[in-house]
Symmetry: C2
Subunit: 280 residues, 2 copies
Amino acid sequence: VSRFHLSLNQITLNRLSVAEVVQACHDGGIRSIGLWREKVAETGREQSARLIADADLTVSSLCRGGFFNSRGAFLDNRRAVDDAAALGAPVLVLVCGGLPDGTRDLDLARARVAAGLEDLVPYAAKRGVRLGIEPLHPMFCSDRSVVCTLGQALDLAERFPPEQVGVVVDVYHVWWDPRLDQDLSRAHGRIAGFHINDWMVPLPEGALLGRGLPGTGCIDLPRIMSAVARAGYEGAVEVEVMNERVWEAPVEETIGTLTTFFDGLEQEAGDGPTAAAAST
Amino acid sequence: VSRFHLSLNQITLNRLSVAEVVQACHDGGIRSIGLWREKVAETGREQSARLIADADLTVSSLCRGGFFNSRGAFLDNRRAVDDAAALGAPVLVLVCGGLPDGTRDLDLARARVAAGLEDLVPYAAKRGVRLGIEPLHPMFCSDRSVVCTLGQALDLAERFPPEQVGVVVDVYHVWWDPRLDQDLSRAHGRIAGFHINDWMVPLPEGALLGRGLPGTGCIDLPRIMSAVARAGYEGAVEVEVMNERVWEAPVEETIGTLTTFFDGLEQEAGDGPTAAAAST
């Protein structure tokens, strides 16, 4: 059996409700889904959990907690853990937050992230939810995450047992990093999620919605996926794409593109022979 | 005497010709200028050199060579060194270039940068021009520079004597880096230029023209300037801002803002007492 399987992060089909994206996964043969709290809240948590269970999908992760420098983070992160537990999400993805408004003290902001994390870990561990620290691309340092590199995320995660705190590797955020290979080796047993998409230029205004579907940009996905596999990760490969044009495209077309691409990626990443054998 | 002085990188006043920007520096009491080859070519190299000499300005740097993965780089970089020598620029700033079009092999692109640099160093050293490797923000990795961190730039520079190859520290590109402090220490004697500006959100489309005037964003400039001073750097602090709104603003207003800001920055960075004593 292949050690990887495709998961659809629901933001890739951001116009759809939970019910609609569950249907799209079912129709497209995708067996796993990454959820967003905002979308789940629209449908209701219990109803979402029921829709997912009825379609026999597994949940790969819940996005997101974190933003440790924001007002209300303390309580909101506890609610995020509760949501993850209720939805059967094994991992709560943490986007750690940027500089507090009007401040310039990166060291302080980073220290507050560490303190916020330390506070949250016991609560999550008790509920069986693993926290996954996602380093964000440095272009988001000021407003979304002062944790900019995999190395930083590991520095934070390694203070806790790996089953309690891991890291989420999103190729969009880390592909450029000259230390990526060594930090992926270091991350052995710590990788709590693997997200794929692609880097495209020019960036759109605001930079957030500039990702491409995997395979459409310049990221060497087979290479990174192989390194992630060597780091002992197996399981969901979540496609997470935030892009207006993808959101406007027909759903079946997007799903078809993704499943076809993923089959090829598994082969290229060197996971192919086993997967092919298992599918015959 | 203060160990720093203000220099105006001419792209900050991109609408002006060399003659006009020389006049603006003279009128505003700025004694140093950073040049761009494209602007110099419009006026002519000898004429530009004469205008600068007549106004008694010093040249802090010439932008730029590099782009080692582009066709024509071999010859163009030699012309860039010739330009720097003719203009009396002590440093040629190198922007190393992104991935070759349609490729995804970062390791190969980086190896080609190293090879291109190795080829260029003897030519530049013979002509008394120091090469300054400028790491660019990782958001420019695909299209402008596969050299994304100060650490990488130092890895490249350290293969050569410091008087031949240094690094250019632009706060916009490095401010987010969790390894900045340690890499600035490591850069002792290697800093060939120091550029200031500021990080603002949201990024504009294409990201290139999103910089703010120093002091208008979230970069802790006094802190970084102190670290640069501890790394043994003295000399020009170049203001390099690429921003449509700054280009549209009245020139005298921009110059006034910069000189006032710089005076305060010197004080805050701990260089103030000496500077104040010298100016009384």
